[in-house]
Amino acid sequence: MNISKKIVLLGHFGVGKSSLIRRFVEDTFTDNYKVTIGVHILKKEVVISPKETVSLIIWDLEGNDDITNTRASYMLGTSGMIYVFDLTRPATYEQLESDLNFIKTNYPNIPIKVVGNKKDLVTKDFIKQNSDVFGSFTDFYTSAKANTKVNDLFSTLAKQLIS
């Protein structure tokens, strides 16, 4: 069985949403930052079991420091979300709790994974020290550059979407 599911990636600009998708879909990475405007859409099949495959249609939304400004049309028909913040820039996770509340209020029952990206640039101690800031919300600490937990992130969400 093969089914399609649309997922969107949200978060501030420069947090690495496009890099995570590129790593997941193409297994590539570049250090050169290229801003995303509007939305890029990519597709990748995730094998859940020998008989079950999910086609993830991944919407890479342009970064926005105010989540309430996200265009509503982009969210139509979304089955899952990934909220990404940059572990090296506090400005990208200072509003984490209120951003998540906004998402849960406006898109109830849609599974969401919260991701602290650029893990390769911070220490384990840093993550421990900031556990009260983002620790309780975060599902994955990833690095698109070092390819840490990227596949885990997408396949965990894919499994959740069909369960």
Binding site: G14, I37, V39, I41, S73, R89
Partner: protein
């Protein structure tokens, strides 16, 4: 003709498609996606796959998806896509190619985002540097405090041990301990000073002092030092120098002391000369010229500009050890005093430092002399000193120094909870107060003492005995009405001198 050119250059920017509920394209004008009729719309791009559920809606609705990147094998466009659904008709898709418009926007967004990210990173770097600086300063302050405590014990007991019967071998060993501990003391002071200078926390005091007395005492000390090394100490003190000036005598002593210590260190034969003269008096300020000349090893021309740099020692032979901070501190102190310093040197012949410093003239105080009471001149037979201290080394150091004078009773309080009661029972003449105490601080206790109802008790002189002597510490002590500070490590002379100042 024109129609032909138009046809060649005209670029379609809108494509219309009619799509049924099963996502099949029924009609297309093939403006840029060509030959697509009868295909599933989902085969054009994943975008269309994610809107197929909307095609099922049997109602009049309009959805606008702006700035969608449609990358296909044939072309890459950025488009606004409108989906119109109808209650009784098939859905209409309108794809408007706005690539040029969005490309321009992309450039602007790129610049804006990069600039915001750069400024956030810069802010973080600054924050990190400030935190690092604060950590360094706290580390230095705590570290130096921890070293001062045992060092104080070493210096005191070397003094005391020196007064006992020792054979010549033991005296030699004691001299080595004495030299080493004094060297360590100077190094700690230098490191503390340079760290204070770096963060702009070194403040000069303004005190009126007698310049000729200051120089007399200074020359006396350094003449002995020079002669101990077999050097001649020469000095010329100008006759026109003002008698009483306002400035920071402690820092002036540090500047001249560092320069002359250096001169003695790097000179093995010949002389050390100190010349002091008046440049001019203008607007109630005296500009004074100081010159220190030695006949030492000298400095090569190419190294002259390095001598005022921190942690730099031009002589790397290890014969003359040091932190390499002395001249950097001198240079910074001279700058803080709005003065200037220059160096001239001939390799293997000697070095000369010249500096000009300005001081306010004190015309109100005539030949001020601070009269420090000597033990013999004191009014009482014995004085009662109360020491609030939990370090056994310091307790023993103070006890030994005071006991040798034969003029003091010493009581020691180690538990701050019993302090007030002890003061009320014993009515001491002076309280020597450590600052780092269990569960409280010396300045906090001083505040409590100053609030006592008994007039004679709340005015007892309190002298802080501490290694914490940063400007912010001194301000705190002043606020707590602590009369004076004896800095750890202290020696017999500095302890007694400060105590005598407050004895009646």
């Amino acid at each position: 003709m024109l129609a032909k050119h138009k046809l060649a250059h005209e670029k379609a920017i809108i494509q219309y498609l009619i799509v049924d509920k099963k996502s099949i394209i029924l009609e297309s004008d093939d403006a840029f996606f060509s030959n697509v009729t009868k295909q599933s719309i989902t085969s054009l791009h994943p975008f269309f796959e994610s809107i197929t559920t909307l095609l099922d809606l049997e109602e009049n609705q309009e959805y606008l998806f702006s700035c969608i990147h449609l990358e296909t094998d044939n072309r890459n466009i950025i488009a606004d896509i409108t989906l119109k659904t109808f209650s009784k008709e098939h859905a209409l898709l309108i794809i408007q190619d706005l690539t040029t418009h969005y490309d321009n926007y992309q450039l602007t967004a790129q610049k804006r985002n990069e600039s915001v990210i750069d400024s956030q990173i810069l802010e973080l770097k600054n924050k990190y540097l400030i935190e690092k600086e604060e950590f360094k300063n706290t580390f230095i302050a705590n570290f130096s405090h921890e070293i001062r405590e045992p060092l104080s014990g070493i210096i005191t007991f070397v003094d005391i041990l020196g007064k006992t019967n020792l054979d010549s071998e033991q005296k030699d060993y004691l001299n080595i301990i004495n030299t080493s501990s004094n060297h360590l003391k100077h190094m700690i002071e230098d490191i503390l000073d340079i760290s204070k200078i770096e963060v702009g926390k070194l403040n000069l005091i303004e005190d009126s002092f007698n310049l000729s007395e200051f120089l007399e005492e200074f020359v006396f000390t350094y003449k002995i030092k020079a002669e101990e090394k077999g050097l001649t100490f020469l000095n010329t003190i100008g006759e026109k120098l003002p008698p009483q000036i306002i400035g920071d005598p402690y820092r002036l002593k540090q500047i001249l002391g560092n320069l002359i210590d250096n001169a003695i260190k790097y000179t093995t034969k010949g002389s050390i000369t100190l010349n002091v003269s008046l440049n001019q008096v203008r607007a109630n300020k005296a500009s004074i010229h100081f010159q220190i000349i030695d006949t030492g090893i000298g400095i090569e021309k190419e190294n002259l500009d390095k001598v005022f740099t921190s942690f730099t020692q031009v002589d790397t032979t290890q014969r003359n050890k040091g932190t390499g901070l002395g001249l950097a501190i001198v240079k910074n102190l001279v700058s803080l005093m709005d003065g200037n310093i220059s160096i001239d040197s001939e390799f293997n012949e000697g070095t000369s430092f010249a500096l000009n410093l300005s001081f306010k003239l004190d015309t109100k105080t005539k030949d001020k002399k601070v009269e420090v009471a000597t033990v013999e001149k004191l009014g009482k037979d014995k004085y009662h000193i109360l020491l609030v201290e939990n370090s056994e080394i310091t307790q023993l150091s103070v006890l030994k120094i005071l006991a040798a004078q034969g003029k003091f009773y010493l009581d020691i309080v180690t538990n701050p909870d019993t302090l007030i009661e002890t003061i009320q029972n014993q009515k001491p003449d002076i309280i020597l107060m450590d600052i780092n105490l269990p569960n409280t601080t010396g300045d906090q206790l001083a505040i409590e003492i100053r609030q006592l109802p008994e007039k004679e008790l709340k005015k007892i002189p309190i002298l802080a005995l501490t290694g914490k002597v940063f400007p912010e510490d001194l301000k705190r002590y002043k606020k707590a009405k602590i009369n004076d500070v004896i800095s750890k490590p202290f020696d017999e002379k500095s302890l007694l001198k400060t105590i005598h100042k407050y004895l009646k």
